[in-house]
């Protein structure tokens, strides 16, 4: 079945430091989605990447889709305490609507 690996599992940073999480698939993807889940909350959609090599930015967040469409990254510049939460990638390698989530990266930010 579809395997999507997300690393690291946890990341503790000092406020102002950068943060990156990576999502790797064993198969070529048609697209990839990213979600954020605050502690005690539900996942909230951040962005979707579709094209090979695509880069999208949302303020301090930069999302990238690999050239081979098998990996993706989310980079946060100058983290803030509001960035705390778990970041998930989600993929549908079978193009059937079966959306599988990565294990998530939990970000802690020390003020």
């Amino acid at each position: 079945g579809q395997q999507v690996m997300q690393i690291p599992q946890y990341q503790h940073v000092q406020e102002g430091e950068d943060f990156t999480t990576y999502c790797n698939s064993s198969t070529t993807l048609s697209n990839i989605q990213w979600y954020k889940q605050r502690p005690g909350g539900h996942p909230v959609f951040l962005i979707q990447l579709v094209k090979s090599g695509e880069v999208k930015k949302q303020k301090r967040l930069t999302f990238q889709f690999g050239e081979a469409k098998k990996n993706s990254s989310l980079h946060i510049t100058a983290t803030q305490t509001t960035d705390v939460g778990t970041y998930f990638c989600a993929v549908d390698s079978s193009n059937t609507g079966k959306l599988i989530f990565g294990q998530g990266t939990t970000l802690q930010v020390k003020p």
């Binding site: 539900h42 996942p43 998530g104 939990t106």
Partner: protein, 115 residues
């Protein structure tokens, strides 16, 4: 629009009891999903549906059943509750794929404890 509504918010079950987790959406979305999230873990897909009358298994379907008689509702049934089913359950919906996945809209979750 209320979005995706899940009931109940919390429930405690004894081993062997049964219950139905309710999920309703008012966005006319065709795609609906059930995920479970164990403490400190990621989301595991239990079942999903691409439209009324159509359901399919996800990653962890054992011990659960679903039905999709209407576009709006996607209930999840636990027939014989086991401690391993203690988890937070999220329902989600999305519109037609249109060639690629549409964003998921999640409910607030149901926190289930089986003792």
């Amino acid at each position: 629009n209320a979005g995706v509504t899940q009931t109940p918010k919390f429930r405690i079950l004894k081993i062997g009891q049964s219950m139905t987790l309710q999920c309703a959406q008012d966005m006319n979305h065709n795609y609906m999903y059930w995920y479970r999230q164990d403490p400190g873990m990621g989301l595991k897909l239990i079942y999903y549906s691409v439209g009324a009358g159509i359901t399919d298994k996800g990653e962890v379907p054992n011990g659960y059943n679903v039905s999709r008689s209407t576009t709006e509702d996607f209930p999840l049934r636990l027939e014989l509750a086991a401690p391993s089913q203690t988890s937070v359950y999220f329902c989600a919906s999305s519109s037609d794929r249109g060639g690629y996945n549409s964003p998921l809209h999640f409910g607030n979750g149901t926190r289930l404890t089986v003792t």
